[in-house]
């Protein structure tokens, strides 16, 4: 009687649960590998009347370590060659550096293909929309970056477009991104958009008149950017080392690198 052989291997009765999987059944499994990291740093962009300024610090961190003191975050996009001499768009990326570089290279090649096919550079407006779709294409495995796009619009006015990692975007007067965004943005609200600034003696309560919003001149904006980063460096450990500034005007793009505190 094989059925009562007392040995399931010798064709005896088998017991269902003997072969039940021993590993965790369903739901979330823990993976050791995390494909993302935060490389710190901060970016800032301000649009003026006939210019736009893009800025970022040059520190690249992982955890408490400084990987390098000079890793630029602001890039020229869409020039004819790799020298980017005739580029008309600026992109800043902050967050996960590897995704940032991948995104920058992708947008650059898209703009280069556009220039090759149409014989003219891509407009900032078109590039802004394209960047949004590039980000959204990776909606379920996003580029972990906060991107800001800058340039001059069709009227020659400064344009700044800011993005979240999955491609939501809007055109703004100014935007701070990255590790010290929450430190810099309120300062910008007050100094660029004159939030909470009123005309002295103009009234009481609701009668109080807001200060007129006017675009700032370029030299003032440059000082504002430097001040914003100097303050951020003081209070955020992931920000520092160098300040890279790109200024786009109708005459082209100018780059400046200023020192920041290295501590």
């Amino acid at each position: 009687m094989a059925m009562f052989s007392q040995n399931p291997i010798m064709n005896g009765p088998n017991y269902s649960f003997a072969e039940a999987p021993k590993a965790a059944m369903d739901g979330l499994r823990e993976h050791r590998f995390n494909p993302y990291t935060d490389n710190g740093g901060s970016t800032l962009a301000i649009a003026g009347d006939g210019f736009a300024i893009m800025a970022g610090d040059t520190r690249l961190t992982s955890g408490y370590s400084i990987n390098t003191r000079y890793a630029p975050k602001v890039f020229k996009i869409g020039g004819t060659t790799s020298s980017q001499d005739d580029a008309n768009i600026l992109l800043s990326v902050v967050g996960f550096a590897a995704d940032g570089e991948a995104l920058q290279e992708r947008l650059d090649s898209v703009c280069k293909m556009y220039r090759y096919r149409h014989g003219k550079p891509m407009s900032v407006n078109a590039c802004a929309k394209r960047l949004s779709t590039i980000l959204y294409q990776k909606r379920f495995f996003p580029y972990y970056v906060y991107a800001i796009l800058g340039g001059l619009d069709e009227e020659g006015k400064g344009a700044v477009y800011s993005y979240d990692p999955v491609g939501s975007y809007e055109r703004e007067q100014c935007r701070a991104g990255g590790a010290a965004a929450s430190l810099i943005m309120p300062f910008l609200d007050n100094q660029v958009n004159f939030k909470n600034q009123y005309v002295p003696g103009s009234g009481i309560g609701h009668e109080l008149q807001e200060r007129d919003r006017v675009p700032l001149p370029r030299d003032e904006v440059e000082i504002l950017v430097k001040d914003a980063f100097d303050s951020a460096v003081e209070r955020h450990i992931e920000v520092g080392d160098g300040l890279q500034m790109m200024i786009i005007t109708k005459d082209g793009i100018e780059e400046k690198v200023l020192p920041l505190k290295k501590d």
Partner: protein
């Protein structure tokens, strides 16, 4: 009668039919995420005015076991570049084979008979490979340093890690070295401008000092190491041993090192 307690109270297949085990299986796809097993520790490197010096010890650890003590973790590429591998050793060997193949292909395709890839090209290639693998959730668990000369025959040094993150600096190190060796090297080469003041002899001396500090303080290290000097004339690879070790301080250490009584 089955006397095995594991079977007591379980429904018998000959009575109830075999259990449909597919209910117990997950429908999730296979995941090939691993973690490093046999590992190499720090790689250190710094630029000098005519090139780059790099070093890494010869140990491959299996956890805390010093498993293989004669593993070369520096590899030359086409006699013009050096790659230092930190992290998983089997992934290092995979990359080594891959690079050998790449070197042969490049040598065939180029018309001058030599290769066309400089250190910058090689670093770009490796970082793309690493980023691609991390995006497939199947990373190569390494932290690489690539040293050589760029297209203008200027010293080139850059890092790439398992996530595809890349960066360059006058001095670089992986693993423990980023905490112990990097501060020593940054004293000599804080920025690109200061590289011009460093001679080859000075750079070798600093790197050897770093390897000494790492040997004394990194428990996953050993006193035998490879040292490579890259200049536009080629690569000098040598094997070194830390001589004149002094452990006289060891019997005075109490507790974790700060204890005095």
């Amino acid at each position: 009668m089955d006397h095995r307690p594991q079977a007591w109270g379980r429904p018998r297949d000959d009575v109830y039919g075999a259990y449909d085990a597919s209910y117990m299986n997950t429908n999730l796809p296979n995941q090939h995420t691993q973690s490093p097993i046999v590992t190499g520790t720090s790689v250190v490197a710094m630029k000098f005015k005519d090139g780059v010096v790099m070093a890494a010890d010869n140990l491959a650890s299996y956890g805390s076991l010093a498993r293989f003590t004669d593993v070369k973790r520096l590899r030359t590429f086409a006699d013009t570049s050096v790659i230092g591998f930190g992290g998983d050793v089997s992934d290092m060997q995979y990359l080594d084979r891959h690079l050998t193949e790449l070197g042969i292909d490049e040598a065939y395709q180029s018309d001058v008979g030599g290769h066309n890839l400089n250190a910058r090209n090689l670093h770009k290639y490796l970082s793309k490979l690493l980023y691609h693998r991390r995006s497939k959730f199947d990373p190569l668990w390494n932290h690489l340093l690539v040293a050589g000369m760029d297209e203008d025959d200027k010293p080139f040094l850059a890092a790439a890690d398992l996530l595809g993150t890349t960066f360059t600096s006058p001095s670089l190190s992986t693993g423990f070295g980023s905490m112990l060796a990097q501060p020593i090297m940054r004293k000599y080469v804080p920025d690109e401008a200061s590289v011009e003041n460093i001679t080859k002899e000075k750079a070798v001396e600093v790197i050897k000092e770093c390897m000494k500090v790492l040997f004394y303080r990194d428990a996953r290290s050993m006193d035998k190491y490879s040292l490579a000097i890259v200049t536009k004339d080629g690569v000098e690879l040598s094997e070194n041993k830390l001589e004149n070790q002094s452990w006289a301080f060891a019997d005075r250490i109490k507790g974790y090192g700060t204890q005095t009584v």
